[in-house]
Symmetry: C2
Subunit: 615 residues, 2 copies
């Protein structure tokens, strides 16, 4: 047990990430924005997640011995899902191991995929003729002769004459489209960075990109500090209008956290924040409104109309984001009050709109976003899944961080996997999915979601499991997942109330899927593929997710794909490609917004979906 | 003698101005931005300046009796040049009396002329459908369905949702081109204003315009407070780079004075400054740079390259101009380091570029701007005339305000006209032109500019005049223009040094004209017309201006026209017409910049021009 962190560097991407000892390379890759394909769900049976350890020691697992020769093992070949990190290592990733390699779908690595890196931000090194009496044009025109017509802001124009002269009329112009953002001394064309944000209700993820190469340099994730004001969007909206400075307070904390994350990313890889010229944010509609300090109270009332819908290009100074002072902040377009920029980013990143056959994308988070692509058309809905999948509102719930139970299997007793291999301190979303599905399979929980009393358990429940079903002082039935090892620790338990939260979350997503499919006239059995998105989505077991209703049971395992944090990937692409950004704007406009509260049948559908399937 | 101010209102323009008792209606009209044509130079001999006093008392002058019948006189008909103000009056102006009526040249009245009032600022009253579940588009899109696509700034977007709802989805959108500047409660389409500034080195003039009707509501002029840092552009440039906060200090004082003038104009006519949406500034290149806080040191060094040349559209907030907080500030395009926005505005206002035959425009101020239009081409130069024409650097010099000697004639003795009919306290530009010309005519000053000693005067100089040539304690020869009436007052005198200043100013303009004409291959005798511009230009006597070399002597009196403050008129047109603004941008680009310091012959030309003509 150790909380030591190790550095994992991926080749040829150049991306690095710091992880706790015991993290699998599969998980580390996801943390670095690389989705390694795992058709088997990461249990070591399909052999698709082949990687090579180029530097650092790792012992081969049992599964590794089945898939690799002794020579290959000696050469460092391993399965990413079975190999854990116990020192600083360098990992080589096969392009064919990355998700999307076979599917022509761009995966999360900013560099791979077929798209051309052609960002809005451009740097041009120029050497201008010095002014003379024969050539006394204005400084702006002198520069425009080299870089084309541009607009600029007053604060830069104020400094331009001194800079041009101080730099001997040589330097690097920084352009965003036709806007001059800066003029720097010497040739700085190689130093050009951007930061993409996935701005979640619960979690914020930031990725520092080299805009020249398109490579991700570093990635970081933090809790959205707004959680102290409420754990779902409605609570935040309510808080935003509860006092005159509350909206600004919500804005300020997320801006402050963004700033801290940007500073840390810069420090980690030695980048000067002055050389970051653009930040892109993809989040749900409410998160984006709050980030911009936009009045959000109308998002909490029917008909939930957002203030804006096209993407916003704002000044970093006005947004108080500590990058280049003339830099820009791009905030994604939104589809509707509850279907926001994260969904647009997801469609953009997966190119969902150009897939064949009906394809469903489910982004599981505090809001569950559901998108269907069929015959060139797109439908999107958002459903309030609640924060259970991110470990909140669950008695022993926790985020997917050190000490979280992230895997659960029930055989003769409980088998758990804990992040960081430490004493379990709580249970995170993927653990909850496993646990709920396993309790259903063992009939310790009924299809109606009732945790049976110890005396009502089926006869085939092993004694060790049966002993874990206890009744507390308040006559509440509990399932004890893990007993404390030390005197003052508390056990990790699942309560009847927790199961109800899971039912609500699963029911909301299941009902949402049903209504979106019905709107498009598609049956679940017709689905060619299902994409599971979200940081959470990468680590849930497919069969368990299907068991509890998160994924339609009609879909074959091999057609369920983890696409990772597509909100982040989309935000990255908006930084890396003007064409992608423009496509995102179009996608937002042409996606049908399925308003679930408008569907007369949502309540009955939801009530029915609350019941777990009987097997 | 009185310093009482009276209000003069002009019909049908609706413009009003407050003037000192004794001001002529011709002068009051100029102050209100109306140039009444006076081919005779305002001496009551041509009868062209007919006006009618619709309300208020005025005694007919001798000249009035020659031009009007008793019935007409009783009906209020007068000559504007001969009628002085001694109570509040309302004046009717014949369209045919306004300069330009015959010439198809737009005069200073913002409303007259052939141009269409079609400002960049538009107000649209809209009534929107309230959001519903069937129609839940974003607030921006809802508004765009009525007013077309727009951009807006973050601060307005932040308030838009609350405003739309608070106003019941009805209100007035304020647009500048495709930019939403504001959204106001109810129908405010009738309240839409702008302020045009002539930003002179010595004098600032501001005009409040009704952007709906195009009418001027009020006008004001003040000393440019930057004069304390130096009275010409080079002194200001030098000061701007003499300390780290000096540039900002220069910027701040002119912004502060602008703000005060805007507040006063608003108060005068009861306009809310929130309903002013745009301000336009026309000034010389240095004044415009300093106003914007643009680094100006390079304007003081060869080759005098400006920072920018296209017009700038800036935010009122960033410029700290107290109009609507989302308002805009337009700063004119410039032609070169010393030929600025005031010249562009002048060409625009007079439509100089579309005149037939070679036409010369001379704007006499601290900088003398010279523009020639010939065969569809334009040449412009600027010459450092010095502030003498604005009364500065002259021992008894003063601005054209109360107590200034503005007219001088020498017959048996000195005849003077004093602004406000009070005890003379100094002499202003037009008085200096008169005095210098008259002293030359009487040969009290030699063609070389020497003020003759009392003992060397020609025999035909009347004794009273001869007695005014005295020698002071420093052996300097003086001409006493006016003796003090009270014990502690000092006499108004003209010194040898003052005559040298006038020589320098006249020589600079004369040499500038010669070089511009030579560049275009035009002889002075070919000139079809000369336009005299500038607040100063309206009141100088043509023959005297020709006598001292400000206007080529080859030009016939009837071809010399006073066009008034065309810098202000051009700034007004930029507010009133997007087409005019665009034309101004083109004019700035296509005008040849004649750099006088580049002309090898400027120094010799200047040396020669310093000599007054021998008659």
């Amino acid at each position: 047990m150790s909380d030591t962190q190790y550095r994992v560097t991926f080749q040829p991407q150049g991306t690095a990430v710091s992880v706790l000892a015991g993290t699998t390379i599969l998980e580390a890759a996801a943390g670095a924005g690389l989705v390694i394909d795992t058709p088997c769900g990461g249990v070591g049976t399909c052999g698709k997640c082949k990687i090579r350890i180029a530097r650092g020691e790792t012992d081969p697992s049992e599964a590794d011995h089945q898939f690799f020769s002794v020579e290959e093992l000696r050469d460092g070949w391993r399965l990413a899902c079975q190999t854990t990190v116990h020192c600083d290592i360098v990992v080589q990733v096969l392009a064919t191991s990355l998700f999307g390699a076979d599917h022509q779908i761009v995966n999360q690595s900013a560099v791979s995929g077929s798209r051309e890196v052609l960002p809005s931000i451009r740097k041009l090194y120029v050497e201008l003729a010095s002014p003379s009496l024969e050539d006394d044009v204005s400084d702006m025109v002198r520069l425009e002769r080299e870089i084309g017509p541009f607009e600029t802001d007053l604060s830069l124009l104020r400094r331009l004459p001194k800079r041009l002269r101080g730099f001997g009329f040589k330097g690097t112009a920084v352009l965003a489209d036709h806007r001059l953002l800066d003029f720097e001394d010497g040739d700085t064309t190689g130093r050009c960075y951007g930061v993409a944000f996935d701005l979640g209700t619960t979690t914020m993820v930031a990725s520092l990109l080299d805009l020249c190469s398109g490579q991700q340099m570093a990635v970081a994730s933090e809790l959205n500090p707004q959680v102290v004001f409420g754990d779902d969007v409605l609570a935040r909206i309510k808080h935003s209008s509860s006092c005159s400075h509350c909206l600004d307070e919500l804005r300020a904390v997320v801006v402050e956290e963004s700033s801290k994350m940007i500073r840390n990313l810069c420090e980690e890889v030695g980048v000067d924040s002055e050389h970051i010229y653009e930040v892109a944010y993809a989040g749900n509609t409410t998160m984006q409104h709050l980030l911009c300090g936009l009045d959000s109270s109308q998002l909490g009332e029917m008909p939930f109309a957002p203030a804006y819908s096209r993407g916003l290009l704002l000044s970093s100074r006005e947004m108080e984001i500590p990058i280049n002072p003339h830099g820009l902040v791009y905030v994604f377009p939104v589809i509707g009050g509850f279907v926001g920029g994260d969904t647009v980013a997801g469609i953009l990143a997966t190119e969902l709109d150009s897939t064949d056959g009906p394809v469903l994308m489910i982004d599981i988070g505090t809001n569950g976003e559901i998108v269907l692509s069929y015959n060139g058309e797109l439908w999107a809905a958002s459903t309030a899944a609640g924060p259970a999948f991110e470990g909140a509102r669950i008695s022993c719930g926790t985020r997917a961080s050190r000490g979280a139970i992230e895997k659960v299997a029930l055989d003769e007793d409980v088998q758990i996997g804990v992040i960081g291999n430490v004493q379990p301190m709580g249970i995170c979303g993927s653990g909850l999915v496993d646990l709920t599905a396993e309790l259903l399979r063992r009939r310790i929980v009924s299809p109606e979601g009732r945790l049976l009393h110890n005396t009502d358990l089926p006869a085939d429940v092993p004694q060790a499991l049966a002993d874990r079903v206890v009744t507390d002082d308040n006559e509440q039935t509990l399932f004890v997942v893990a007993q404390p090892e030390a005197a003052l620790q508390r056990p990790v338990v699942l309560t009847q109330r927790d199961i109800r939260e899971m039912q609500l979350g699963c029911g909301a997503i299941k009902a949402g899927i049903a209504i979106v499919l019905r709107n498009a006239g598609v049956r679940a059995s017709d689905l060619a593929a299902v994409f599971i998105a979200g940081g959470f989505g990468s680590f849930i077991r497919r069969s368990n997710a299907q068991r509890i209703g998160l994924i339609p049971s009609e879909v074959d395992h091999q057609n369920i794909h983890y696409v990772g944090n597509v909100s982040l990937s989309g935000a990255q692409w908006a930084l890396l490609s003007v064409e992608a950004r423009e496509r995102g704007e179009q996608l937002a406009r042409r996606t049908h917004h399925v308003e679930l509260s408008m569907s007369g049948d949502f309540q009955s559908e939801f009530a029915e979906a609350m019941m777990f399937a009987d097997e």
